[in-house]
Subunit: 432 residues, 2 copies
């Protein structure tokens, strides 16, 4: 049926380099590349019949709802024990170093709870809209399913992501420095629709109006949101990545506040009150504010500014394949719009190359970038620098410290540096 | 901190209808809607402190890799026992009736194996390119990671999806009639890149050249693909929905053949041979061909034509919320391009309304559609009809039977009918 296999050689493929020079420089023109290739012993993994080719594998009833294969058991959410006193009010981190593309697999998308992840049945779910509306209203889950819904993909970043790095390079891995982020496709009802259903006159003067949102868990995690944002693009989400929200992400209903800090995306959302001012709750005064050097705290710092990180190579993803072609990849995002460009530096910010965006940047969603390069064992100080559709450029850590000091843990969107050593290992460092 | 909750009422929200008339007809103008709303007894689920609000929930160490909450245990892949003799060479079905958005959760994305799902470690993985190339080449998994990769979202539909429906309405649920489909974001290396790496002159005359692709499992599942398609948009995928491919979807590497029948998306791909003609293997002669009424079989019917299905309401998703506003939703796709329009009929195809696409159709990817309507207990014969960027319109079952007969099980892209009864239950039927 097929031609016999004769003298196959172990590839050593990428050392050939033609594919890189061709693709990057000349748009795919490989024709004519004729570099010689070393012969090697035929590889029994391709020439001999292996166990997995001589028997039957698992049938379709093996996993009605599947999990990753055992060999990927390292690609999991991880906690950092010393960060907080207990796991109930703690966080864990998405294994972004091991992922690609833009969608975060729901099973390893990070969690942050203030009083733990609760179990709330759809039948027991209620959402109240009250306060300055014509008619205080309570929606059941089934009610929500009857409103027109939209689909949008958005990143969610915790305000404290990268927060341990203000004082210096601390956590040794992209998962820990930048893993309080995920990116999902949501199906939900515009918050505007439900406010209008409760009789809010959205054509009236709502300039000084706010909504106060709270969850059904013990912490309630209440936050104030200006009406302009509430009516703009907030969603009452009932699905994420195609399926019901996971328990740890707010099942059955969470608030989506695109581009704004994750703390405001209230899980198990139970009440939305229309008010004529903000509540100044715990979560927006003693927490989630940014204390400057002079002791004054910035508040209402809701938007997550443009940011990026190289996910591979990185401390958890050392270069193990030797010299030659290397794919540098990472992700970028902005709470103010779409990512328009990402630059990568190998020398700690002295020189920059523009990376390739896998797809055009989308509004308030993760963008994947790649830089194909050649690495021959030289030390690198790898950085990435994101730009967004507002013209904003991701700052260095020192630029950020200059205006913000080091008292805060929130809203650190500085340029990250990985020191890649001649042996391929990488370490979290700072460059001055 | 917040205003006291006074006299909330149970919403009966969607019966108000203003949100629908406003959104659909006038682009969101709800202002001025003043319909009265029935008062109801205060709902203890919102006014009283519940168990889940008075204790701690799960901490972040509960599930390093999470699964859906127990209440969603019904949203799983399901087999139909009588369809095939054993589960090893069988299929199961994605629970599309319960999903929303476009991304298929990987854990419940359908499986189809010819000799079961094998376990193949990355270290043991090899991909050979041989045949009419300058240099037969073997790639390790690590080699593949060094080539420039792309990200694309594509649907995969089994050619036999809806195959049981040729002879009449048989399987009672969208999961079973249309669930051999999933839609994922892939990260992979263009097949073109690897063929060029093996020295294929892609600028030369390749008009009559083919590739033959086979997997590492016992079935090998070999298929021939014209070179034009191989060089166009085929990917050697190493990630799906952000993470490593699942075992049942071809870990660690599968072939992606956008828009073409799922059987060609060879899992655990081990060999790609460049040939000067097709192999005419078992999987493209005695299987995956379409036998017409006159006994002659169509072959090379690779492309999955435009198709759609209403996922809710449907037999597994009856209307349980009584009369008034109803969201009809479903999905559409085309192997020839993007979905440009979906129409919905409630009377078995006599009259049609144009549905709302949640996002503009994407090339060879699932599109979600919604039709917001009002239902007051009248019988419906619900249908959806997809159109794609080539101008193609999804046909009725009778139109399809007229040209294709009833001998085939493959490539049934006919319009599906759900009979929605006055009690809200739905059933798979045909209309003539």
């Amino acid at each position: 049926m097929t031609a016999p296999v004769k003298g196959p050689v172990k590839g050593n493929a990428p050392s050939r380099r033609a594919f890189l020079r061709g693709t990057i420089a000349a748009g795919g023109a490989l024709a004519g590349a004729t570099m010689a290739r070393a012969q090697a012993t035929p590889d029994p993994l391709i020439t001999e019949v292996q166990d997995w080719a001589s028997g039957l594998g698992d049938g379709v009833d093996a996993t009605p709802y599947g999990l990753p294969i055992e060999f990927e058991s390292d690609v999991i959410r991880r906690n950092v024990e010393w960060l907080t006193a207990d796991t109930i009010s703690s966080i864990n981190f998405t294994p972004i170093h091991a992922l690609d593309g833009t969608i975060t697999p729901t099973g390893c998308a990070f969690e942050r709870h203030h009083s733990g992840a609760i179990e709330l049945r759809k039948e027991d779910y209620r959402l109240m809209i009250n306060g300055m509306v014509d008619q205080e209203t309570i929606f059941t889950y089934e009610d929500l399913e009857r409103f027109p819904r939209e689909n949008h993909t958005y990143f969610l970043e915790c305000a404290a992501n990268t927060g341990m790095e203000w004082a210096g390079a601390q956590l040794n891995g992209a998962q820990f420095t930048h893993g309080m982020i995920h990116n999902m496709e949501y199906s939900g009802i515009p918050l505007r629709t439900l406010l209008e259903e409760a009789g809010l006159d959205t054509a009236g003067d709502l300039k000084d109006k706010w909504v106060y949102v709270e969850g059904a868990d013990a912490s309630s995690n209440g936050r104030s949101i200006p009406m302009e944002k509430a009516l703009d693009d907030c969603l009452i989400a009932i699905k994420a990545n195609g399926e019901a929200l996971r328990k740890e992400h707010g099942y059955p209903v969470r608030l989506v506040v695109p581009g704004w800090e994750g703390n405001m995306w209230v899980k198990w959302i139970r009440r939305i009150e229309v008010m004529d001012g903000p509540v100044e709750s715990r979560e927006e005064t003693s927490k989630y504010t940014d204390t400057l050097d002079n002791g004054i705290s910035r508040k209402w710092t809701w938007v997550m500014d443009a940011k990026s990180v190289v996910t591979s190579p990185s401390p958890q993803m050392p270069i193990t394949h030797g010299h030659g072609p290397l794919v540098i990849t990472g992700m970028a995002w902005s709470g103010r719009g779409a990512i328009t460009r990402v630059d990568v530096s190998k020398d700690g910010g002295m020189t920059w190359e523009t990376a390739r965006l896998a797809q055009p940047g989308e509004d308030k969603a993760l963008t994947r970038f790649y830089l194909e390069t050649e690495w021959n064992g030289e030390e690198m100080f790898l950085q990435s620098r994101a730009m967004d559709s507002t013209g904003y450029v991701q700052p260095t850590k020192n630029m950020l410290r200059e205006v913000r000091g080091e008292n805060s843990i929130y809203h650190n969107n500085c340029i990250q540096t990985w020191w890649v050593k001649p042996n391929g290992e990488a370490e979290n460092v700072e460059v001055s």
